[in-house]
Subunit: 221 residues, 2 copies
């Protein structure tokens, strides 16, 4: 148990290391079980700290996961932008496919995207919400220019709408696509419930491609 | 306090009345505070029953709100279908506006739509999930034919995609648009956070109109 080595963290570097250890533990548990299943106690146990000591680094469970969501944006935005800029034939379909692939390949980020407005932003200080929103703003600042370079008829608002559509649908579809095991079995066994089976990447690609195609038609008359 | 009159409910009619009283109380509290703020204890107090007695009618808090979501679909689907069928000039824009108006006019339903896959479907029996999914299936069976009558080039899958897009975005945008009071003040006071301000109805109309316009273009070549 690494409890003792965590007892004091007086230097900024030691504090940073502890924060990183807490975030690592939360990331591992969240990826393994889904965010909703991870409590502050679970994280404290995994990192070998007392819960009360951990609260000196993060005020709430939601603050930890909001930080992971911010990291998710910092990882996702440049990767998506690079893929969009590298498209050989940029059009509504290929840009939509790039969005969908980059999100479907990040299941925990999709889980966090759905949790953010419902839960994570509701149990942290406003300063933490500000920090988080500045990170999503930076993400938009990376993605929207790449989308406009690929599809020059689009405006900034169109790019923001594309990101809002993609992130909102990815979050919701991910939740629908990952029910508990009993409900998953129910959906497979009752043919009347076929509409409940969602495959995130193709459905997101299809809807976002139509949205971008329609928006391009609006802009080019 | 109506506690005593609720003590026994032996006939099916008495049972139905008690269920209705519980659902009424949950509906009132949910509309006033938001779903996340309503506990089983709150509902029991509002309806004047002991929590243990209430659990004979609904196994969990989530079962109560899943029932309200099912009622939401039963209220929303025929109303939207009627508005779509009554459109004088049915096109991507007017159909999208009908979806957005009917959802934005039902804020508690939007709240419930976002809670459903994250929370409500996760803490009820699979039989309750089956009942709920059959209700959403009936809703699709009412809305999709109305959308296809308005926009005959569309397929059933297109209609289902339109409903999935509208309900997913309405749920997420509603959550983003209704932060706590401190965060709402933050968004208004920091101009760098303008992207965090969401107005559900116009944004949903704009995105769904583009999606339908693009889908129509795909179907008509």
């Amino acid at each position: 148990m690494p409890t003792r080595e965590f007892q004091r963290a007086r230097s900024p570097e030691a504090k940073r290391l502890r924060e990183a250890a807490i975030l690592d533990a939360a990331r591992r548990l969240g990826a393994a079980r889904g965010i909703r299943q991870v409590t502050l106690t679970d994280i404290a146990e995994a990192v070998g700290m007392h819960k009360s000591a951990m609260l000196r680094y993060f005020e709430t469970r939601e603050e930890i996961f909001l930080r992971l969501t911010a990291e998710g944006w910092q990882d996702w935005a440049p990767d998506l932008a690079q893929h969009v800029r590298a498209l050989e034939r940029p059009d509504a379909d290929t840009v939509a496919a790039a969005f969908a692939a980059s999100l479907a390949g990040r299941p925990m980020f999709c889980d966090l995207l759905a949790q953010t407005p419902l839960n994570l932003e509701r149990n942290v200080s406003t300063e933490k919400v500000r920090e988080f929103k500045l990170t999503t703003r930076d993400g938009l600042g990376v993605i929207v220019p790449a989308v406009r370079a690929a599809l020059p008829a689009l405006t900034d608002e169109d790019g923001v709408d594309a990101v809002a559509t993609a992130t909102s649908l990815a979050g919701t579809f991910y939740q629908i696509a990952t029910p508990g095991p009993d409900v998953a079995e129910l959906y497979r066994s009752d043919p009347r419930l076929a509409h409940a089976l969602v495959d995130v990447e193709p459905q997101l690609t299809r809807i976002l491609a139509s949205m971008l195609r329609g928006r391009l038609a609006e802009r080019t008359g």
